[in-house]
């Protein structure tokens, strides 16, 4: 059981982070705290992707090892380098997440200008009062 937790610790970390973010998004009343929760949630997924591409042991940077004019054509062994694709995917995902964060903050500003508060229950009270 202990082995199971130790060997897969990266997944436990990501699940833990994701749940923290999820809790903040669902339970917090303050809109900015919700946005922070959203960001933690998204970062957890980035950690998940990145951690899946990690390799331990004798990892090299193939592009440096076999430069032009070096030992010539050389088949690069898959076991020698970390999988670059998840990193590339996450670069795109980070861009998307920054976009989401920007839109969410902009909407939060709109709400603050309209109701003078960022607490969800106070906003709803304001709407009920009809102002």
């Amino acid at each position: 059981m202990f082995e199971f937790i130790i060997n897969y610790y990266n997944y436990w970390v990501y699940i833990g982070l994701m749940m923290i973010g999820f809790y903040a998004m669902m339970a917090k009343k303050n809109l900015i705290k919700k946005i922070i929760g959203m960001n933690i949630f998204q970062s957890a997924i980035i950690f998940f992707y990145i951690s899946t591409s990690v390799k331990k042991g004798d990892i090299t940077v193939p592009i440096l090892e076999y430069t032009h004019g070096g030992s010539g054509a050389h088949a690069v062994d898959v076991m020698q380098y970390a999988n670059p694709l998840p990193h590339v995917l996450m670069l795109t995902a980070i861009v998307v997440m920054v976009g989401t964060l920007g839109v969410a903050l902009a909407v939060a500003i709109m709400i603050y200008r309209r109701y003078d508060t960022l607490e969800e229950n106070e906003i709803i009270m304001n709407i009920r009062k009809g102002r």
């Binding site: 998004m25 919700k34 997924i45 899946t52 995917l89 839109v103 709400i111």
Partner: protein
Amino acid sequence: MITQAPVLIVVIPLLAAFFCPLIGLWRKGLCYSWVVITLLLCVLASIDTLFAVIRNGTIHYHLGGWLPPFGIEYVIDHLNAMMLIVVSIISLTVAIYSKPTVERELPKKVVYFYTVFLLQVTGFLGIVITGDLFNLYVFLEIASLAGYALIAVGEDGAPLATFRYIVMGTIGACFYLLGIGYIYIATGSLNMADVQQLLPKLYDSKVILTAIAFLLAGLAIKMALFPVHVWLPDAYTKAPSASSALIASLMTKISLYVMIRVLFTVFKPQLSTKLLPVTDIMVWAGFVAICGGAIMALAQTDFKRMLCYIVVAEVGYIVGGVGLANATAMKGAILHILNDAVMTAGLFTVAGIIMYKTGHHDLSDFKGLFKKMPFTMSAFVIGALSIIGVPPTCGFFSKWYLIQGAVIAEHWAFIAALLGSSLINVILFFRIIEIGYVFNVSNTGHVHNGSNTTIIDEAPLSMLIPTVSIAVAIILIGLYNQTILSNIIAYAVPKF
């Protein structure tokens, strides 16, 4: 036929969106024509693609010449060729329709509205056309982000509704991203066709179970399946008329399309029908959504809000129809995606006209409208009859196939829900028709807060023509449903 047509469908609105603010700097009024011309080109490219697909079968377009498992691939088969037509024609119609309402509701934001409008359409078309799982995520987020912006500029209370939508929508998109992550770990590929080839050996593995659970949970939030629909009614009610006509009719349908893609293209059909009880759960989820949506719709006094709950019920039809997992029900479900997009667009455009003329969209605003705007209201009646499912309109035929499919699957509860919700729709719409006919307002003014005394008459032509043409399309799709079924949808149904 142009060989580059598939990529042009996405590139044209994307580039046009970049130029839209520049044109707006020069001449504000040109933005509208720019959007209409752009979307017209999109429609032409989609029609060209559809005919190419009907003639030669599935089109594979390799972006940048990179071959499939490594590069991004656009795959257009019969299902997405149909979706492309639906998306591009409805967005063109809404764009033509939008001019007076955008100028009235968002006088200072016309340029930005049209820019984001084009980005929204780019997102929709990209989701539909792509054959790559991660590319789909990116387009899903483009569509969602543009959607948030289009909704947030609406009437009072729209920002809070948008904020809730952002939180829910982000959870949905992140779940989808996690699902792809698990598929990528298991197979090392993101191309849908490639994944379908690689996965069957792994169907017993827990990783695939997790992946399909995350994917479907994420998409359920995006498509507003009943228990997680809470973001939809607020957001779509408070959005500006033009945005709600575009987003309400297309966003949920496109998420449904992605669900069909994931279940039957990324995974093989037998995984969700035989190995895992996915489809059984889906039928019951559809059942709950139909009942919940229909009952909640009864409780509404706001016209747009009522339409939103009808959309929730319609999502239930399609999810349930896919869940019945036989060819007839599947035919009905795909036809219903097409029909529902058209019907919802029709009703939301009517809601926009009423908002434009009376300034509100409550049910009580329908008083005496039949006399004052006969064309708009006849378009409304055709849309209403189609939602109810009265024969010559298209809504009847998809419901007919869904019920037939449910009989084949012997799922009686689903039939009961379908018929029950149709009856509830009768009550919903005849209540409005009664208000429109019976309660005549004697004087010319429709008095709201004592200040608004403008005479309510027929809508401007640029709003009326798109609305009426959608109503005509509802009847035409109904009359020619056999042509659509045998030429397009028959090929889109997976082999169970």
